[in-house]
Symmetry: C2
Subunit: 928 residues, 2 copies
Amino acid sequence: MILLKLCKMLLNDRLCQWLGHLKLSRVILMVSVILFVVPLVTHYYLSKYDSLSFSFDGNPMRHTLDAYGDFSLMNAADLKIRIEEMLRIKASVSTELRELEARRARLQREAAAAGARADSAKTEHSRAAAELQRLRVSADQARLAQLEAIRRDSPELAPPSPLLPSQPPPVLPPLPSASQHHCRMHSCFDHSRCSLTSGFPVYFYDPDTYAPIAGAEVDGFLKTTVRQTLGYNAHITQDPKEACIYLVLVGEAFSSERNSISSGDNLKLSLNETVIKSLPYWGGDGRNHVLINLARRELSVGAGDAFKSAMTGRAMIAQSTFILNQFRLGFDIVTPPALGPPGGDVWLDCAPIAPARRKYLLSFQGSQPLFNGLNKDEDKSVIEALQKTAKSSSTSDVFFLQFECDPPVEKRTVYPIGDWALCGTDRSRRALLKDSTFVVILAPSDPSYTSTALLQARLYEGLRSGAIPVILGGDRITLPYDEVLDWRRAVLMLPKARVPELHFVLRAFSDADLLAFRRQGRLFWERYLSSVQVMVDSLLAVVRTRLNIPARPAAPTVGTPAFNESYYPPRLEPPTIDAEPEETLGPLEAPYSSPTYRRNYSIGLVHGYELWNEWADPFALYPQTPWDPPVTSEARFMGSAAGFRPVGAGAGGAGKEFSEALGGDRPREQFTVVILTYEREAVLAAAVARLRGLPYLNKVVVVWNGRTPPSASLAWPESGAPVAVVRAARNSLNNRFLPYDLIDTEAVLCVDDDAHLRHDEIVFAFRVWREHRDRIVGFPGRYHAWDLNYNNGFLYNSNYSCELSMVLTGAAFVHRYYLWAYWRALPAAIRNYVDEFMNCEDIAMNFLVAHITRKPPVKVTSRWTFRCPGCPVTLSSDETHFHERHKCIQFFSQVMGYTPLLSTQYRADSVLFKTRIPHDKQKCFKFI
Amino acid sequence: MILLKLCKMLLNDRLCQWLGHLKLSRVILMVSVILFVVPLVTHYYLSKYDSLSFSFDGNPMRHTLDAYGDFSLMNAADLKIRIEEMLRIKASVSTELRELEARRARLQREAAAAGARADSAKTEHSRAAAELQRLRVSADQARLAQLEAIRRDSPELAPPSPLLPSQPPPVLPPLPSASQHHCRMHSCFDHSRCSLTSGFPVYFYDPDTYAPIAGAEVDGFLKTTVRQTLGYNAHITQDPKEACIYLVLVGEAFSSERNSISSGDNLKLSLNETVIKSLPYWGGDGRNHVLINLARRELSVGAGDAFKSAMTGRAMIAQSTFILNQFRLGFDIVTPPALGPPGGDVWLDCAPIAPARRKYLLSFQGSQPLFNGLNKDEDKSVIEALQKTAKSSSTSDVFFLQFECDPPVEKRTVYPIGDWALCGTDRSRRALLKDSTFVVILAPSDPSYTSTALLQARLYEGLRSGAIPVILGGDRITLPYDEVLDWRRAVLMLPKARVPELHFVLRAFSDADLLAFRRQGRLFWERYLSSVQVMVDSLLAVVRTRLNIPARPAAPTVGTPAFNESYYPPRLEPPTIDAEPEETLGPLEAPYSSPTYRRNYSIGLVHGYELWNEWADPFALYPQTPWDPPVTSEARFMGSAAGFRPVGAGAGGAGKEFSEALGGDRPREQFTVVILTYEREAVLAAAVARLRGLPYLNKVVVVWNGRTPPSASLAWPESGAPVAVVRAARNSLNNRFLPYDLIDTEAVLCVDDDAHLRHDEIVFAFRVWREHRDRIVGFPGRYHAWDLNYNNGFLYNSNYSCELSMVLTGAAFVHRYYLWAYWRALPAAIRNYVDEFMNCEDIAMNFLVAHITRKPPVKVTSRWTFRCPGCPVTLSSDETHFHERHKCIQFFSQVMGYTPLLSTQYRADSVLFKTRIPHDKQKCFKFI
């Protein structure tokens, strides 16, 4: 019944009646057959459709039906007729079906084609729209830049071109002896020889020709070394006519007669005033002259103070020993003794900074010869107080106090001012100092001295070995270069009256402060005292700083082009990789260099303190530093708008407004991509190609580290910015950080040639870097983990971690300043180590930045998955690599005296990353 | 065939043969029926199983079969028999099936029950495990703390307890006149009266009783004001026996005889040495005395230098006028003239910092009386050079130079040293200075002066109006308090010889540097020069700094408990809100206070420069500052481990290792939650309840801002940490930032009572704050947008933005130091404004921190969606609120002279947030 009804619904009545008369079994069989066969046939034809579409007839169907007929297990003839009838019906139905199918397919094809066209049009449109958007933004930028250029009537500043005197100093009448003691820069210095743009030229009298100490000559080592080290100084000129200051090496001098050494008296050498006055540029009163008397072999007061009663006119005096009343503050200069090597690395002489507390809390070793001055009693009570402290201490602190040398010190060096002679050898003293948290330095008993060479030598040795100097009587002591160095941070200066409170004060220092003191002391020692080179450089820098003349610009590395000038590699339109046309990340502008040398005359004022005490590089002028101050936020809308691109013209915003402007507290700028590559031309070409269309890209500098030059056949892809290929002199990973003259921006993006960074990641990191210009801002985070097995230092670690202390420079922004610092502030041993193992230049850069800034790096978000960091497979295959990197950390820490790395526990993401916002609002970036 | 085979496979042969004889159609039908019926029946029974399980028999099945029989359309009797046979078979099969089914169901039930038990056990287990984990970690912490306590044998430091001398100074023979000029701290100061823990007590001689200027008395205003301001100074003691130093107010004094004013001569007042020497604690030589001679009404040299040829013994001299040879460096003190009000806010006197460049590049206004000294020619040439510069300038720079006053200045104040008298009135000078980028200050022609009151007055006025002082002859000028202030950052000091280069130098300053100079000048002026109060405080602080005696501790606010001591509100077990037992965020430890006053004797050394020049608060000692240095990373494993909790014991890590330890570069610590509430007890109770189980929580301080005390019936929920409720004296939003003595940690989490923060968010923000202790680290970001319509300042903006400059303190961490700074460093006008409008305390805190640090805040990730920020509905309903906040920004900027806010474009997320990591690794946090 149901079947009948169904049948009637589907077919006409007559046919159904006829069907009703069929034997049910047959019907069922037939239906079964049909049910079985039709899908098969349909499927067959559908799948064969293409090939059959033009040669279609009934035969294949028949054939198929016959073939399936075998399975029907039934041969009744009448049934066959009916079946054939059925088949005809089916065939017509099938034909209809086929036609329908064909039409459908045709329509489908047409739709697909249309869809494809629509898609491509849409893509084209969105690309065009994005391009238009970029162009519009770029045009806006260009217009703004033009406006700014018109508005600004100030000339562009450049490294100063020197303005020099053309005459040697004229001869003036000598200064009366009484006025000599009142010499100050304003009264005794001739500024006319030292214009601000002069570059501070310095002339050095040949010490072989001029020997200003009567009957004596300058120590040979000093003579050679000073001449040599001054040769490296950028301020030295051979032309006395243009010089600003004149250097005379007076000592350390020793009597020419060998046999007189044994007599104590001739240690007091006297200045030969005739020689001084006949110096060719003395000019009658010695103005702009600096008389240098270095202490080295002979540290006693007799040798140290060569000018006690001499007529030196308007000349400045630089030596280690000074009587308080003789020392002209802000004019004369206290120098450290020349105890170090001529130059070069000095870290091997130093002791590590940690642990904060050493075996002895306080040590002293010295011997005071007979002294009959006024203050003898005072010193005796100081010594007694010290001894009492050491004995009666109720704490666990250990003191090492030795007020008589064992073996006794030679009496030869004695000079009766109550100075304390050094005991033992350099080696024995060093051993003690390395075990001392603090070391006492006792000011000489004679209170009229503000500095003696012996005291300075004690300071030198204490700082070298990391024993924090405690100068008792420090309130009357002048320390080297103290007009620029903040010695409070490295040396504890106490009045002798504070000796009963000494132990209390020493205990009051926390470990962190002890380490800060020791670190600062070592910084001062390394940069300003350690070698003859740094000592002489510092001396000149101090005088230059007084005059507020900028240092000479740090020399950039001149990049050797990898190609002949005549030849330029063919440009190639790159394949569209990472085209990201759907997101405008910023305007595409013409290359715009960061302004250079804008602060030549203000950096020494606004940042004079940091220059000497924090960054510790007052010796060169840099085009920019990471610490240049920002303009206040309202000034940008009140006359200081030049270069600024506030988000939404100042109204702020997200999405479009944000992407159109860099915003922030810094003016517009671009960055340079530096790619270090080693004979991987295809990889490099892909790396350059990936940069196409990257906003804010100023230039691509490819450092070609290969032995062979890049092949001339290499076609260079278009990157949208100039590409400069420089060939390194030798294959070295350090080349990545060469301060090439080709780099015109403050921001430098260091990338490995195989690092795949997305454009949005780069632009976001650039924005974050603009807020943290003094830090490494980048993608691959690593950390230093304490070696828990051996407990002997840190290991390099690339595991997944929530705390990181390094960001690898295979994909990171650094300030251009650090490229110079890498070569100037890092000990050469570190760069040599990098060369030796062809590894770890990135770790070295992290050490350097953390050392200078005492800040951790900034990790920014990345969609880039690094090649399986820390997974076991890599680890085992790269075991040597990792082992080397452990060693690097340990070696670098040894060289620097500590591990400067600091940790960070967060990552910088864009402000609205993964945030639910209303539908009508936009995020900062689409994907990050 | 197939069916047969199938049948044979399934049943036995005989049955199959019998089945084979059946008519195929019937078989098919039967099979169909069976196929149709069986599932239905099965389904029916399965669904009815529960109700039928105990009353099962064949009837329902029969019934069903009969019912379906109607559909079979067939009534053949033989078939029925067979069907019945079949049914029997089926029934037996069914029975079997039912039994199986029942068993299955039973098993299922059992399994479900077991599963539930297992689940509950598992939950129990995980809870227990978490608890155990917490306990274990807490136990570890406790053990470590114990170990540390044992290891440390040093006594805990506290705010220094005074150790005072009990005798007035003994009388010593007077100092010979010749030695007086050589007085330095080491030779003329008695340290024994000033122990390091003395707290630097200062005794002030009543100026009414002691008038040390012969025939004259101290200006009445000064007398009153100095006495009053010293009364506010923490160092003043009434007990002369215990004093460290003794202050004598010498001037400014005027002749007691009124009629003598017209005569110029009596301006030269002379010190009455008899009075001085008969001061009760003079002790024969005046040691530890400070003779103060302030300049106010009379700025000429005659009045300024009261001690020119006087015998002052070992006393220090503090005044504005000094001859170079008379000034004892490091002993005497140059003070600014007392031109300001007695105390209080001074911002109204100042000019805004922006724009960087004003109408005149350089201005000068002054008149030089006759001077016949040596250097007359020099000054003439300086003036000519200046005039030439002004005239011949090829740039657009405008100069205002006036070397004769109009109207001419009174001749009365003339004293023949070539000092430049001020022209016009304070008002007229101020008008000019506000239009000047730079102002020239000419050092007096007589080069023997290192400072004069007139010059200092020019400095004072220049800094006040934001004209950057350019002191020509600055190389011989001593500026106020220059042993602690780095004047290079605020004042341009040039030798007179540089005058031809002046224009060049001035142009070389970038806008950013100009603003930095002006800002620093204003900072110095406000903190150290502006009023008599700050001037006198600075004077004492300078002497104290010399001695390296710590300042007195800043007084905390003593919180008034809201409840009687006898009464404590009942504790209530809170409902489990946000329990988050699935994530261990850190150990639950006993309250652990941050160590306090650890750097009393080192902060002035390590951070002496910043104390005076950056943070500008050397006047008080704080338990901690945000800038305390960290211990180097290896020192923590080499003896300085106390308090440190390295992640993974130093091996680093994510997930569990990370959550167990705070890590980072700081030792362990906790934070205090400060909730400001206003009579919303239910909201408050919920807020406290939400903190339950929060790791690192030290204490909850509830500031009850209501008029009425909290009701005694209010039951307090258990928060897991002590809850202290303090009642504020009055209803003020400023109370949120009171430095309550109840706060024992450096980290303070300020929260609104209705802020819903998740525990993981808080812990993460705490970790980020530990890296940025000097910044506001929190959740709701806002920014200041330039008012593009009126162009007159910034508007407050809470729209979605990718750049932010404020983080609201409704949910943010700040350092405890800033709670003091809010009351000490902010002008009172800002706090008053907050009170007046009951709004903007959060903006004020952002201004303060940005002003001190020059850094933007840090926004951290939040799942917390703020109540619809910036959506139009809120905006309109809160229009007044927003309008007030615009006004706040504008008013605060006016008070501070600039808008200190800086922008940031990123958010801090946890390192592995939304990062794909291998399955065996863990993230830092589960959800953020």
